[in-house]
Symmetry: C2
């Protein structure tokens, strides 16, 4: 039972048998923990919150609800609903009073990161956040190489423009190595992106 978002991304429901199955199928050797990028980021964010370092949450998956049953003496059951395309990025929150906003994506490619991982709404949102002075970036994971990069949104926006102007539909690995920042992977927190933000913005 696999199903996809409108953007073709596979949806992995939580707490179902399917989840375990899907996780095993995609079992990347990433520290042998079989964790997805989303899980690693959720644990990282929990670590930040518990230690009062930052308050960052993943937004819920947007769903268009069509039909709901309301049985007596038990919880409302959504009987028909559809996945909607997100109008923003997935993660946001606050670090030292500053607004933090990012999207996280991974690829099995080894030489480039395809821009089809993003959609126009997210790009527009990132542009708006950058204009409003927010700290905005993407976390890009090369799953086969087990490398995670932080790329500031204004760079992603340039590559998006290059594509819109007829250029390549991806960012090369070399470009990401040059202007992105490699995030060393740890145990706690797993993906310490706040440390990179500190370095970039001298907080």
């Amino acid at each position: 039972m696999n199903f996809n978002y409108p953007n073709g991304k596979r949806y992995i429901p939580k707490g179902t048998v399917t989840e375990t199955k899907v996780k095993k199928q995609s079992n990347h050797s990433y520290s042998n923990r079989g964790m997805t990028l989303e899980e690693d980021l959720n644990e990282t964010n929990e670590y930040y919150r518990e230690r009062k370092i930052a308050v960052i949450h993943k937004k819920p998956t947007p769903v268009q609800i069509v039909q709901v049953d309301y049985p007596k003496r038990s919880a409302a059951v959504i009987k028909e609903a559809y996945f909607k395309q997100a109008s923003t990025t997935d993660y946001n929150g606050v670090y030292k009073g500053k607004y933090i906003d990012f999207e996280a994506k991974e690829t099995a490619n080894t030489t480039s990161f395809p821009l089809k991982n993003f959609h126009q709404h997210q790009i527009d949102h990132m542009q708006e956040v950058v204009s409003q002075g927010g700290i905005c970036f993407v976390i890009l994971r090369f799953s086969k190489q087990e490398q995670v990069y932080l790329l500031q949104a204004h760079h992603l926006l340039s590559f998006w423009d290059r594509m819109k102007n007829g250029g390549r539909k991806s960012i090369t690995k070399e470009e990401i190595e040059q202007i992105g920042i490699l995030i060393p992977l740890g145990f706690q927190p797993r993906i310490d992106y706040i440390k990179i933000i500190d370095t970039l913005f001298h907080f």
Copy 2:
């Protein structure tokens, strides 16, 4: 077909016959537009975004997805899902680089605002945001009087503590008039809370 969130709040699905019906039932005279507080805030946020004043979004309703059908040649259909309690407030975003976070609630009461409109997770989240230097508040609407107040989170937290220490389970209207700030209602934007933030924080 009415159904409630776990907290007893009525859920109004978008784009269904039910919505129109529910709206008519609760048709508050509020500028005779029959708008809910959520709709007014969504339009206000759209106004802010279009004019590049601020980038604030409502978070999607959190849903626990249990079963999804993936028919060929058409969109995935969620067949079984449940409403989850939100772990954060409903609205957040960025204004001049600063993190903005708020919850909006309304009451039909005229002399006090019941604290049961909030739940512990939201209170904890507001405490975390305040500690992290974010701008955090609640927008409280007295529907019968058509009055909307902005109350800073640290005040709400004090009232919550008072309740936890055996005090009253609501904030009196007088208290809100004293320490909250009345937001004048307009046409565009409808609930200009950013103007209040400017006044409070001298941006």
